[in-house]
């Protein structure tokens, strides 16, 4: 017992030593960096500048910590799939979506989008329950009932008028996230796009909760899914392009955007 105590205290001392060393090292680095900054900005302004530089520096550190980080062991493979998806978008999906957009008026396409969203109600409802968000489950149910009846099978979205009923949708990947399951690593799936290990498991869950998945024969179900994605694309042509164009490294830009987007979705 005594021995253990002795060992513990020794370990504690060592730990304190290590930490104080780290702290001193950090401090001196910090001061050096700080000094450099102030020299650089000496002409920038009065006394405020000092405090401001300090603020920025610490803000950056804080943000750095909260920024989503993820391992990417499959990067070479992922970059290949990313290039394939990019090619597929420009050579197949976009031309088809443009043709479809040309022959289909916008209100119809918005209606189709609403219809599919309304049909995905089980995904949202089950995941609300799994995340113990009962109020949200109620709101989603009200939205579903209202849009299915007054909105004629969900083609119209009368629930849009009541902001209270429009909650950000939940899915299985988010449920796993709220259960403190980490992202795992980053994966880019052919056609499906950016995902993570956790969200891929989530996609399987969503598949089983989607009524469209139970339509038989399977090719009708598949066609419905493809039609949904063509319809969605027809409403968002240009978004992918502008994000890609504004990036220096599109692969990293989309990866980071996906992770930030999902992090926010899990938190909501």
């Amino acid at each position: 017992m005594e021995k253990k105590l002795q060992r513990d205290s020794k370990a504690l001392c060592a730990l304190i030593l290590v930490f104080s060393f780290l702290f001193v090292a950090y401090e001196s680095h910090f001061k050096k960096a700080f000094a450099e900054e102030t020299v650089m900005s000496a002409d920038a302004g009065g006394e405020n500048a000092l405090q401001d530089e300090y603020d920025e520096w610490t803000d950056d550190l804080e943000e750095e910590e909260s920024a989503p980080r993820i391992r990417d062991p499959l990067e070479r493979f992922n970059r290949g799939v990313f290039a394939f998806n990019d090619f597929f978008y420009f050579k197949a999906l976009k031309p088809v979506a443009r043709g479809y957009r040309f022959i289909t008026p916008e209100p119809v396409r918005v209606g189709v989008k609403n219809f599919f969203y309304n049909l995905g109600f089980p995904v949202r409802f089950v995941n609300d329950i799994l995340q113990i968000k009962f109020q949200k489950a109620g709101q989603d149910t009200c939205q579903f009932i209202l849009n299915s009846t007054a909105g004629i099978l969900g083609f119209f979205n009368p629930a849009r008028r009541c902001p209270w009923l429009n909650q950000p949708p939940e899915d299985t990947g988010q449920t796993l996230g709220t259960w403190s399951i980490g992202n795992g690593f980053y994966i880019v799936w052919p056609l499906l796009g950016p995902s993570t290990l956790r969200d891929s498991v989530g996609l399987v869950g969503d598949y089983f909760l989607q009524p469209v998945s139970y339509v038989r024969p399977f090719y009708i179900s598949l066609s419905a899914r493809s039609y949904e994605s063509v319809n969605d694309t027809s409403l968002s042509i240009g978004e992918y392009e502008s994000l890609k164009e504004s990036a220096l490294d599109p692969y990293t830009a989309f990866k980071d955007a996906y992770l930030q987007y999902r992090q926010k979705a899990v938190q909501e």
């Binding site: 960096a33 302004g45 989008k113 409403l235 240009g238 392009e241 164009e245 504004s246 220096l248 990293t252």
Partner: protein
């Protein structure tokens, strides 16, 4: 004595929320005024002609210059990695990145000229930093856009835009970090100028 402390408490209670809310109001006014100015220029029928587009672009640029603090955005986007930049490189970086951001922001904003912009809450994130929530409402969806603004030298300036939960600054930082992992600041500047000067591919 007791009475005095109570009155002090009362004064504190009254003063603190008021000062906080006026600051938040300031942030809100700053963002909504700037956005409204941008929208007014975008919707101005005088700029419908193709020949006046350049003039419109210049006027938008002036408004956007007072909205964003490009120096701060540049520094935040580089993060700690910015320490390996010489002052000259930093200046060049800020110049190029400013041009890139202007191009992106103005191009995006033009796409949304007919949509409605709604304003949400303003929250103070710290003493002098606020987040103003806005959203763009299109026929098929609602895109939440948050402006992070900082009060410094007696004026508000925007230092980050968060679109659907994706922070612009963080997104660029992830890219710059990735590039600087095995390349020099010089290479990054080269790559940045290539991106800025790239001819715009038609989005349609």
């Amino acid at each position: 004595m007791k009475r005095q402390s109570i009155s002090i408490l009362l004064i504190l209670l009254l003063v603190v929320p008021v000062s906080a809310s006026t600051l938040a109001d300031g942030a809100f006014d700053f963002v909504s005024n700037s956005v409204d100015k941008v929208l007014t220029i975008l919707r101005d029928p005088a700029f419908k002609e193709e020949s006046t587009k350049e003039d419109q672009y210049q006027r938008l640029k002036t408004v956007v210059r007072t909205l964003f603090n490009y120096d701060e955005i540049s520094r935040r986007s580089l993060g700690i990695k910015g320490r390996s930049f010489t002052p000259e490189q930093m200046d060049e970086f800020t110049g190029l990145f400013t041009r890139l951001l202007e191009k992106i922001y103005l191009n995006r904003v033009r796409e949304y000229s007919d949509e409605k912009v709604t304003y949400g809450d303003t929250t103070m994130l710290s003493e002098n930093i606020a987040e103003v929530q806005t959203s763009i409402v299109t026929a098929s969806k609602q895109i939440p856009i948050k402006y992070r603004v900082v009060f410094r030298n007696q004026e508000w300036r925007c230092y980050d835009v968060i679109i659907e939960g994706v922070s612009l600054v963080r997104n660029y930082r992830s890219q710059f970090n990735k590039i600087l992992q095995n390349k020099t600041p010089e290479d990054l500047l080269q790559q940045l100028s290539e991106t800025v000067n790239k001819k715009e591919a038609p989005t349609e």
